[in-house]
Each structure stands twice: as C-alpha cells, then as structure tokens.
Symmetry: C2
Subunit: 351 residues, 2 copies
C-alpha cells in the first residue's frame, strides 16, 4: 500500500528529478539543491527573520517556515525544497529545550550527563510536541503545488546525542565524548531514545507530505572509526530499516572512514562532504548508491567562470546518473545569491 501511495504521489510532481535520481532511475540531467538553501543567503529570508523575535519563532510558526521553505524554489530555481526547521527540535520534544544564541549557536541549558539527567527526559511525543513541523510541511506542500519534491530531515542520533550531552556546539565535543568513554551504557540508552523519537518524527513528516528525507550526521567526523561503528552506525541502521515509505539520504560530515559501511545500509542516497574524492566514493560504495554532493561551499566565492568549471568537473567526476548535485556542506551565509544561481544553472544546463 505504502509503495502504491508513494508512486501516486511522485507521479503528480512536475519535476521529480530528485526522486528519480534517488531511486536510481535514468535522468535527463542531475537534480540540484543546496543544504541551507532556505536561509541567510537570501535577502528575502532575512527580511522575514528580522521581523521576528528569534530563530525559534521562525521554526515554530508554520506559515512562516513554509514561506521560507519555498523561497529557494522561487528565487533560485532548485529542484527540491527542504522544510525549514532545525535538528534540535527533537531534544526539545524529548524535554530538553534549546536556544539559538546569536553568533554563538545552539545552547541547551541542562545537558544530559548522568542517569538522573536521563530520568528528566522522555521519548518525543511528536504528534503533540512537533505538530508545528507537520503543519509547516502541509502548508509548504500545498504551496509548492507539485512543482518539486519536498525534503524532510532529522539529525542523526549521534549528532543529537552530541548536542544533548555537550550542551552546545564545540570544536571537540569533548564533554559528549567523555560520556561515550565513561558511561557507554548511558550513552546507548540515550541514543536509543533519540533513535525511537527520530523514527516517529520522520514518519510524521512523511505522513504530512515529505517526498524524501535526509539524515544529518553533522558531527560524525569527531569520532574514531571504531567509535562510529559502536555509537552511530547501529542507530542509523535502525532508521534506515524503519523508513521504507520514501527514499532516504544519509549525510555524515567527516565520515570518510564509513563509506563502505554506508554502502551496506538500506538507504538510497549517500551525501558527501567536499573532502571526499568522487571516484573514491563511487568505488567505496560499490557503485550501488546514488551519491549527493559535494562542491566546497567556498568555491561559490569564486568568479562565475570558476564556479562553472568546478561544477562541471564535479558532475563529470561523479557521472551524471545516480547523482544529486549539491554542496559538500550548508551554503555559507555570505555567499552572493548570483553565485548560488550560477552553480544551480550550470547543473541544469548539463547535457
């Protein structure tokens, strides 16, 4: 039933290049979108954001979240929208609220460091506590009028764990890693709670209308390969096993050492950061996955000719099939929109 429904839904999209590429189907050109495309690069985004009290007001106000979700489709011409939200809505729904401190990043006042701390949180009740995300998805989906697919997303369990135990961003996440080394059983309990909450959250997003989901393991790169296999991969595998309704993109920044493991997961797409050589990635994933990425975000600071050259070299290196063009990280806020458009148009003109 799920498959039939999905097929029906996909078939209504005017541009479903992203889903075709994710499913491994032949495409006329690679699809293109950008991580953080709905955000500060667009003056139209900043105009909305500046009217509000804070970042969270934008995340929790469905019609505004939907509006900024659509902006890059209309203003940049990308082949997909991604719902505007934040990965830290999951800790909040588990009882650990976050703040987004200007210029300093996320802040969680009472990080989890003990069994007692663990007692204070709970599995996310996504239907009640994250209803605003479902509503934003429904609104965005309606306003998209089937032009392009809508991407849902969540943080990977280890990345969410890192914020919940560290209490903030960090260069080293040494407090989070201290929990892994000193209290591995506690770490696994918390990771399992995050995983269950995340699966429920992604299922809710799919029910609300997203066509594909991406998992962001933003802090994969702070773990050793051994620890990654113990504290991240098993939970990613649970998510991949559970999400059968739509394709899944796994983006793990800095996890160059895990590509062969990712190839074994039942996910459709593997996202790559810019340190990964395209041909090495093809080989290490046994030519069995669609790959996404991975232009250095800083390449968009270059002149138009260089952007075109780098973009075309990237597509040639990956090959235009089983491939989704993107950056290797979220677009940096000070990137000129014209340069972003140059990147997008170069992909769209690939023939």
């Amino acid at each position: 039933m799920a498959a039939t429904f999905a097929l029906y839904r996909y078939s209504m999209l005017q541009n479903d290049l992203l889903l075709q590429a994710a499913r491994g189907e032949q495409v006329k050109r690679p699809p293109v979108w950008l991580m953080r495309q709905a955000g500060r690069i667009l003056p139209e985004y900043r105009a909305i954001r500046d009217r509000l009290k804070d970042f969270k007001e934008l995340v929790t106000t469905p019609h505004l979240a939907a509006e900024v979700t659509l902006q890059p489709v209309e203003l940049l011409g990308v082949d997909a929208a991604i719902i505007f939200s934040d990965i830290l809505v999951i800790p909040e729904a588990m009882g650990l609220p976050y703040e987004m401190v200007e210029k300093r990043g996320p802040w969680l006042a009472t990080p989890i460091r003990s069994e007692q701390d663990l007692q204070k949180i709970h599995l996310a009740n996504v239907d009640s506590d994250l209803a605003y995300v479902a509503e934003a998805i429904r609104l965005a989906k309606r306003e998209l009028r089937q032009r392009v697919p809508l991407i849902g997303f969540a943080g990977a369990p280890f990345t969410i764990f890192a914020y919940m135990t560290e209490g903030s961003g960090s260069k080293t996440f040494s407090k989070a890693k201290q929990v892994l080394y000193q209290q591995p059983a506690l770490a696994h309990q918390l990771l399992q709670m995050i995983t269950a909450s995340t699966i429920a959250y992604l299922k809710m997003q799919i029910a609300a209308g997203v066509d594909i989901v991406q998992i962001f393991d933003s802090w994969a790169g702070i773990l050793s390969p051994t620890q990654y296999r113990v504290f991240s991969l098993p939970y990613l595998a649970q998510i991949c096993d559970a999400i059968t309704e739509v394709p899944l993109i796994l983006f793990a920044k800095g996890a160059f050492f895990a590509l062969e493991d990712f190839a074994q997961l039942p996910c459709q797409v593997i996202g790559l950061d810019w340190t990964i050589d395209p041909q090495t990635a093809r080989r290490q994933t046994h030519y069995a996955k669609t790959l996404q990425g991975n232009l250095d975000p800083c390449a968009l600071y270059a002149d138009f000719d260089t952007i075109r050259k780098e973009t075309r070299q990237m597509i040639a290196a990956f090959g235009p099939q089983r491939y989704i063009a993107n950056l290797g990280h979220g677009v940096y806020p000070d990137t000129p929109p014209d340069h972003v458009r140059c990147f997008i148009d170069t992909v769209k003109n690939w023939a």
Copy 2:
C-alpha cells in the same frame, strides 16, 4: 659534515628511542610523547602561567619556556620534550602580530586580504625576531642533560596562511578559503613567503639544538583534496626538501586523503589524527614511513583499564616498529595527569 654532527649529537642521548624510531631503526619498545604535553594539563604549568600577564609572555621568556618544556619529561616521563612555543610566532616575525585571547584563541588584527596588505609584511628575520625561541631551545637542551631528544616545530605554510588571512581561528576558515578561490596568485605569494620564513626558522631551531622537528598542518582538513594538492603539498615538499639535518614529522589533521602523497615526501614520520585507521595508514604510506599517533584524546577520559586496553590495541594495530605512540591531537586541558601517565606507562611497558 651535517650528518656526522647529527650522529655525534644523537649518540650522546641517554634515551634516543624517538630518533631511532624516526630513522626506521629497530627499537625495544615504541617511544611515546603527547602533543601539547607542555601545557594546561599540568598544575605545575598552570602555576607558572598564572603568574604571568599572558600566554605570550611565557612564549617570549626563554627560561620560562624552557622550564615548562621540561615539565612533562620530569612529571610524566615522556620520551621526548617539545619546545614550548606557538606556531603564530612566524606571522609575528613577518610583521603580523598575534594576540591569544582567553577562551577565544588567536587574534591577528590586520589579516592579509590584498596585494596592499602583502606589502606590509616581509620575510621573517628569524635570527633577530625569533632569537627568544633559539635561546629557549638552548636552555631547554642544557637542562635536559641529554636525557631525551628535544622536538622543534612550526606550522605548515597552509595553516599559517589560514590564520594570516582569516585573522583568527574559525570553524570554516571561509575568509581564508575565499582568498584561495578569488586570489590564487596572492595566496601563492603569501604561501611562498611563509615557506621561506619557516625553513629559516626550522634551520635556526636545529642550529640551537633541536634533534627532530614536527610540522603541524592543523587546518589541512578544511581543504578539498584538489586544493590541498595545490595550496599545501608543494610548500610542505619544499620544507621536507630543505630540512636534511634532522628527521621531520609531518602531522596534518584531517588530511586522510593525502596519505599517499605524504608517502612520496622526503620526510621520516607521518603523524595521524584519531580518525585514521592504523592499518589503512600503513598500507597507504606503502609501509615506507614511521607513523605517529593516534589515540583519540578523549580516550584519556576513560578509566585506567580502558586506557590500557585502547593503548595496547593501538600499538598492536600499528605494530611496535617504525612507530611513535602519541595522541591523534593535542591532549585536552581537562585530562587528569594520572590518566596521561597511564597512557605513557602502558606504552613504556610494551614488550
């Protein structure tokens, strides 16, 4: 002549395990030292540091720099001392002073972003402007009384470039990378000036008495493999070619993609961060180099049994020959000294 002199000097050391391992000679056990071993992990260091105005006073006062250089030899029992200093003394000697801002890291007030900025700096006159480092080395060498070798060091040209153009530390170094993409010719000019200054600086350190040098390419991991080959490797090669008097250790954090390139450089030792699998590193460096590293610094938060187990697994994975035990990054300031000693003693008890 240089080789004879070096041989004479080495032969006087009571413990020259580090140099034996670096030269690829058979050792009775692997040598061990820690990046940032002279620093905040030791209360004895903090006692000296707290008496001073700032970090730079310690760096520029030879008898104090020498004193903290010796502390880990006496208090922890490591197989080598590393001269206490900072990689940013090179930009300063080139005319771009730095400050070390408490809890925020390095700050360079007038970063290099244009040809005009480049006119304001010059090649380092190491003999006059970095005489305090030579003096600290002479004092440390004398006080070491040939117990263990003394390591000299410098930043890799790209890493120094990153600070000189960004003006501070950064998660993305996007301003530094902007220079690479927008003004590659300017970047190469600056990199060449840094390289020439660094070679002169290392030669001065060797003349003052260091037995081996390490190059820190701390920000290697922010570059794509292609950019690394253009903007870092050629300058590392110049340094490796120029330093023939003593062995050279190259530590490039995040440069997993460059190991095969490093294997081609005329350096003796390659340092590895904790994301690199030991056997993969052996294979990618064609079993032709001594390897150094690479325990996750956070592993030292674990209990003694875990530290022993992880350390022994690491040595077994690298093999005890052509190997220098170390962490995969500088030791974190909040690591208990007893845990550091447990790591060191486990290596020393290897048999």
